[in-house]
Symmetry: C2
Subunit: 231 residues, 2 copies
């Protein structure tokens, strides 16, 4: 899968929109908003115009007319080309068929959990759960509304998917909080002790492992087993 010439997902939305009819960039942006697509695809004006320029440069779209309305800036209306339709189809197939590794911010945070005390982590994760729950509620309200208007699900599957992901995040986070609270998370006893040593007695994190028994006691046998830079 050679790298896409214009890779911003907004470009994909532009191609999708122009697939319906020719439009000028700002019109595309309002259309995406009225259809709520801006909730699934990040819309930014700066990107919109540069992406349109890049699409034109690569022959995926072409200017079909420029209209001027009084003293307003002149609007360039673009249409999709045959190459553009191919690119869109290829792109959509890739988006649907080939998952691409994406990094969520929470993963980055979880990777550094031991930098905070277990109690602080629990506090923060609880806060996150609350915020996520609020989002779930908002999504569910919207969905109920659309369903009651008989607006077909096919037009909002992306929002359903989003809801599924947020719910999964809540479920995982709840479970993690519980595991930390009850100390059933393997390593959390160690975590508490190590954190205290660093925080209260000013030991450098890197020195903790030089004399594990001193800082952690002997109840943590795996500490002696694992190599310092274990997988």
């Amino acid at each position: 899968m050679a790298k896409r010439k214009v890779a911003n997902p907004l470009a994909f939305a532009v191609l999708g929109s122009l697939g319906e009819r020719p439009m000028h960039p700002y019109e595309i942006s309002t259309m995406l908003k009225t259809r709520g697509k801006d909730l699934s695809i990040k819309l930014n004006y700066g990107s919109l115009y540069s992406v349109v320029a890049a699409l034109e440069k690569n022959g995926f779209i072409e200017a079909v007319e420029t209209v001027r309305d009084g003293n307003r800036p002149e609007k360039t209306v673009y249409a999709i080309t045959a190459a553009g339709r191919d690119e869109f189809a290829d792109w959509l197939a890739e988006l649907l068929g080939s998952p691409e590794r994406e990094f969520s911010q929470l993963e980055a945070g979880l990777a550094y959990l031991p930098a905070f005390s277990p109690d602080r982590v629990v506090e923060l994760l609880d806060q996150r759960i609350e915020a996520l729950a609020a989002e779930v509620e908002k999504l569910e309200t919207t969905h109920a509304e659309m369903a009651s208007h008989k607006f077909p699900r096919i037009f909002w599957v992306e929002s359903e998917f989003r809801l599924a992901l947020v719910k999964a995040e809540i479920t995982y986070t709840r479970q993690l909080v519980r595991a930390i609270r009850t100390d059933e998370l393997e390593g959390s006893a160690f975590w508490r002790k190590g954190f205290e040593a660093v925080e209260k007695y000013g030991i450098q994190p890197a020195d903790l492992f030089k004399d594990p028994v001193k800082y952690f006691g002997e109840e943590l046998p795996w500490l002696q087993e694992i190599p310092p830079e274990a997988k």
Copy 2:
């Protein structure tokens, strides 16, 4: 939450790494790799060096020495500053406590489902499910391995979380495929008809709604109810 002066998650990892001990950039990169943090935080050499420079410019880290090994390029060793520790703590709190809206590529794809035929979509989603299942298996193997080495969960929660997300994606996608296959997804009958009209008879998508009864028949009452640019 004012915008972060250096926003790349890699910068967060750099601060986290230098929190343990002073290092030079390449050393940070290998450490992230041996610990598997590069699986949760995107590591790219170009970004690494520019991010280190930006962190230094903003006083979050400082060069403590430069060593030269024979004819090799000279290595600059950096240490975290007090301001850097604050920034790291603040950042971690934000990552854990305040979910930020992230856009997954699949959402973009789902937003344009009707551009393909239902059959093609099912085919592609099945392909995606297979790829995701392979990832689940890999993750579970790794987890079993780490568990058998008694490597504490606290050091790989981020991978657990990743696994939870992938599983949720599979579950949702499976359900969606089923709904499309059985035509129980509201709108999918409409979808089939609209797609045929566009594909087989060359009607412009934008014209479909001008005479809905003609293209869709009368069994789809909601088509007459909803405004053309419905929410």
